[in-house]
């Protein structure tokens, strides 16, 4: 697999309503979604949330292939989560395959946690798919503004997030390059047993750390040279403004979340 295709949360350009909703509304909605996700404890609730999410995906016009690309890197995590729960012992036996026994409770629990994790990843992905990174960090900075009153450097935190978003793809591409360089020297970085692969990670991690530190060092010099003096007194270039679209979107999200909580209560 080409590692640079794995870039998580790539923006998918578009003009859908979701693209035009204020990024602050989307961030709050995503947070609320995640909170409710962990409050709901039945498949019915998850189903309502999933349906809501599917509707939003359709609304945003994000193709399934793009969605799939975003999910691929976490697929492994989903499988592990499921497998882990599956073999929980106790309760009603379903199948016995040699030394392995699958219990009903484990299967149900595995399915539930996997579905929850999937919805969690999807909701985050939709936020980044429908929002350019610049607006995302602008909005985060704006939302955190009240923190500045508590002497928390909100602006600097937002800039840190911008820089993280800016450098993740660069570092991913560098990992790609390091892997190719190590392969050229005969290193095993894919295939093979788990142990072989784990050992193959070290020769990739070490140069990656060195590169990250070098980037950080040079970035600091470049920022200082470009008159960075901290967040105080900087120009705010983009004005964010709520509109009717935000009210509609927020109402729909609230309705879906309320419905899923409601379903959970009567289980």
């Amino acid at each position: 697999m080409q590692i640079s295709n794995m870039v998580v949360g790539q923006f998918y350009p578009g003009t859908s309503i979701l693209h035009r909703v204020d990024p602050r509304t989307k961030i709050i909605a995503a947070c609320a979604f995640v909170i409710v996700l962990f409050m709901v404890n039945g498949f019915e609730g998850l189903a309502v949330m999933g349906a809501g999410l599917a509707a939003v995906i359709a609304l945003a016009g994000i193709p399934l292939s793009w969605l799939w690309r975003g999910l691929k890197p976490v697929l492994f995590l989903l499988v592990i989560t499921f497998a882990f729960q599956l073999f929980l012992s106790g309760g009603e036996e379903l199948w016995r395959l040699g030394p392995v026994t699958v219990y009903r409770a484990g299967l149900v629990q595995g399915a539930f946690l996997t579905a929850r994790l999937l919805l969690l990843v999807l909701s985050g992905s939709i936020l980044t798919f429908s929002t350019p990174p610049v607006l995302l960090t602008d909005a985060l900075g704006r939302l955190m503004e009240p923190l500045a009153k508590l002497k928390i450097p909100a602006y600097e935190l937002a800039l840190m997030m911008t820089i993280a978003l800016r450098f993740i793809p660069t570092l991913v591409m560098e990992v790609d390059r390091i892997i190719k360089a190590q392969k050229a020297r005969g290193a095993v970085t894919s295939g093979g047993g788990l142990l072989v692969r784990a050992r193959g990670i070290m020769p990739v991690l070490v140069p990656l750390f060195v590169m990250s530190f070098r980037h950080a060092d040079e970035l600091a010099l470049a920022m200082e040279s470009r008159c960075w003096r901290g967040g105080r007194g900087r120009t705010i270039r983009r004005k964010l403004a709520f509109s009717n679209k935000d009210a509609v979107f927020a109402t729909v999200v609230l309705a879906v979340l309320a419905a899923s909580l409601w379903m959970g209560r009567f289980r």
């Binding site: 040079e218 470049a222 003096r229």
Partner: protein
């Protein structure tokens, strides 16, 4: 005499981690650069070029002597804001200099730091993007750009601060030959527009036509003059570990074989000289 835009007076620098060692990264540097000059700065690896560059806008402060920018000493922290606005810096690796997640946001970073009004920031972004041929990439995310486009984004971000002096530390060493030439042409254009240029490079072709060449060796200035005086001087070349540009070596080689070729520093010059030689 007017105040030079850059003035180094007996400057020395020692990196702090090596305080106990005798090794100075720079020593005894005297350098005057007038506004509007183009200075090529070359020297072997470790000769102190980057250290010198970082002294010019107060990223490093001299451990001996004094660095003045437009008459203001870098050692006085009250001057630093002013000095950073006056002296713009472009470094080697464009990937480590881009801060923002889109080209236009990166160009805007400097002007935003100055706290300029939003419309003024917008105007400067617009102008810089157009000037360096990246106006169509304004919304692009940096990691999709080519090396040349990235380095032009960096240049636009620095020029948007309207510096009077531009210090470039091996800015083309990570670019392909065509992007190198394009980038170098943009620098010439800025120079003709009145910006003072200090251009550090390992490619002698890039400074062969510079009006002034400064050569560093072992943390000191070994030569300060015109390229045409430096490159024919075998002893000086050996002492500083430098090589003449390809065209100069070709011209010398041809002359040694008895061809009628006058010395040259650039390819066009060599072609003209060879042509003139074959006519006689």
């Amino acid at each position: 005499m007017s105040t030079p835009i850059i003035h180094l007076n007996n400057v020395g620098y020692r990196y702090p981690h090596f305080a106990e060692s005798e090794d100075l990264a720079l020593s005894g540097i005297d350098l005057r650069i007038e506004e509007g000059e183009f200075v090529g700065l070359v020297g072997a690896n470790g000769s102190g070029k980057s250290t010198l560059a970082r002294l010019l806008n107060g990223l490093l402060l001299p451990t001996a002597g004094e660095v003045r920018v437009g008459g203001l000493a870098t050692a006085d922290t009250a001057n630093l804001d002013n000095i950073r606005e006056t002296v713009g810096m472009v470094f080697q690796n464009p990937d480590s200099q881009i801060v923002a997640t889109s080209v236009e946001d990166d160009i805007a970073f400097g002007p935003e730091n100055l706290g300029l009004p939003a419309h003024e920031v917008e105007a400067r972004v617009e102008e810089a993007a157009r000037r360096f041929g990246i106006e169509r990439l304004r919304q692009s995310e940096p990691h999709w750009l080519s090396g040349g486009q990235k380095q032009r984004t960096v240049l636009a971000g620095v020029v948007a601060l309207r510096p009077r002096v531009l210090v470039l530390d091996e800015p083309t060493s990570m670019l392909d030959p065509r992007s190198q030439r394009r980038f170098r042409d943009f620098i010439d254009e800025l120079w003709r527009g009145g910006t003072t240029i200090i251009y550090i490079t390992q490619l002698m072709e890039e400074i062969a036509t510079a009006p002034r060449l400064v050569v560093m060796a072992g943390g000191s200035i070994a030569f300060d003059g015109v390229p045409a005086e430096f490159f024919p001087d075998r002893d000086l070349l050996d002492a500083t570990g430098m090589e003449p540009p390809l065209a100069a070596r070709l011209a010398a080689g041809l002359a040694a074989r008895g061809c009628q070729v006058r010395p040259a520093l650039t390819l066009p010059e060599l072609v003209a000289n060879v042509h003139a030689g074959s006519q006689t």
